[in-house]
Amino acid sequence: MSVLVYTESENGKFKKNALEVASYATEVAKLLGTNAVAISINATENETLGTYGISKVLNVSNDKLSVFNAKGYANTITQAAKAENAQVIITSSSTDAKYLAPLVSASLKAGYAPNVVAAPESTSPFTVKRTVFSNKGFALTQINTDIKVVGVSNNSFGIIENATTAAVENFDASLEDSNFSTKSIEVDKIIGKATIADADIVVSGGRGLKGPENWGMIEELADVLGAATACSKPVSDLGWRPHGEHVGQTGKPVASNLYIAIGISGAIQHLAGVSASKTKVVINTDPEAPFFKAADYGIVGDAFEVVPQLIEKLKEFKAQNA
């Protein structure tokens, strides 16, 4: 018996969410009185997972998996789960993890609970707390199957050190060509910038900014903070910003440490999508904007005056605290 966690990497380096799910797996293993085993695909520095309590890493090196392929990755994880006799399989909430987790769940006939925000409430029955209704509520979900798949929400459990020594073993999965009938032919991705999925800080603009030509200050503010940029639904519907930036109920969820909403009134769908963010700041001319009720800090004022000042002051702050 074991707990198996899929630790994602990019260009060989573990992603931040990999460290969080490794920490989570360690906690689940402790509750079950077993060990946490990680599976990594084409990652280097596998030993570092020991810092987060992982006692064994199954290291998969396979050129066929150099580009993400949901079926190929899911099949590899499934084979590892069988080899390790895994009782619980843990994944992150990245787009790729949410693509492959249902495939793992189906092939192992394992119940799957996504968007889990805390360590299991109990292990018998196995019960986890997860967000439902697009963050407008939580459910306690009991997984009844022998094998369980748990998807951990980004930035919910946190990264927790629990130092041990991770033994790294090579693991070969047998993958037939039929696993690769869906092929990636082009990846169009922002390089070197934080993404909404894993940024600590997200700066988001709404219709209050009046037009796409005014996004320069949003991008500058994001640059100063090392933040990702996002927008409200009307802004993406109007074509001012790409759809990938739309956050909210039908767009992307945000679970950053800091979310700064500029010129966004705070429709219920938007507030749901960003509610998992830990600290929210709102800048809006309208003191009656619903977002003020959901925010931690607010400035009633004109974004075109406040934001440039904020950029200048933050630059000074960063210079002093560098």
């Binding site: 787009t95 693509y99 249902p102 495939l103 769940s105 189906a106 394992a110 799957y112 609970a113 996504p114 997860r130 439902v132 209704f133 963050n135 407008k136 509520g137 939580f138 306690l140 979900t141 009991q142 997984i143 009844n144 009938s181 869906t182 092929k183 990636s184 032919i185 082009e186 169009d188 922002i190 993404t195 909404i196 894993d198 800080i201 903070l225 519907d237 990938g244 109920q249 039908t250 440490n257 800091l258 219920i268 509610s275 830990k278 700041v281 709102v282 009720k293 959901a294 931690d296 800090y297 607010g298 400035i299 009633v300 004022g301 004109d302 904020l310 002051k313 933050l314 702050f317 605290n321």
Partner: protein
Amino acid sequence: MKILVCISNVPDTTSKINFIDGDTKFDTNGVQFVINPNDEFGLTRAMWFKEKQGATVHVVSVGGPTIEPTIRKSLAIGADEAIRINAEPTDGFFVAQQLAEVVKNGDYNLIIAGRESIDYNGGMVPGILASLLDMNFVNTCISLEIDGENATAQREIDGGKETLTTSLPLVIGGQKGLVQESDLKIPNMRGIMMARQKKLTVVEPVDALNTTQDTKFEKPAAKGAVKLIDASNVDELISLLHNEAKVI
């Protein structure tokens, strides 16, 4: 091309969410139900395949008789026929098993579901369905073209998008982008009248694994009052974010 669009009947995005019966059930009182937005983008793309490429489009949903208005709406938008699987959807795994049976019996080669429903946010129906049927699968799909048996799809990834080639039979987990918001169709009177005449078959569920159950619900803790900072004093905001919230 024979398309099956999987529809979930969900609370409108503006709904206030409350729980009843000792927080064990979602309170449907006063809630307006709609086609799950992620499914509606897929349904609208299916209509495009019907108009431009002569596809046949059926819709399917799992639920009791109360979901029929939502099914009729998808017929009014233009789907040819509908199937209702007469069972309470307990979780995504259960729903996928029911849908798999309909796909096997109906000879569909393109199945379009939403990437997730906005109520229970399982996000597992299209993936489990594809796995049970051993079909190709593209999730978070934002563009789809079909040429004969070949498909080109784009999917959203963290920080960008990816273009994929694949082939029918294919399962799609769709979302906004598959069509634009402005392409969504509001059924007209003629569509609504015609929908009444269209075939809606009710089928009984098959035996299925019950893998999970939601035993209790809760609402997020109430938020404390906002701290307002004067617009001329952004230094104070920076200081609060640094010293109090500790986020910068």
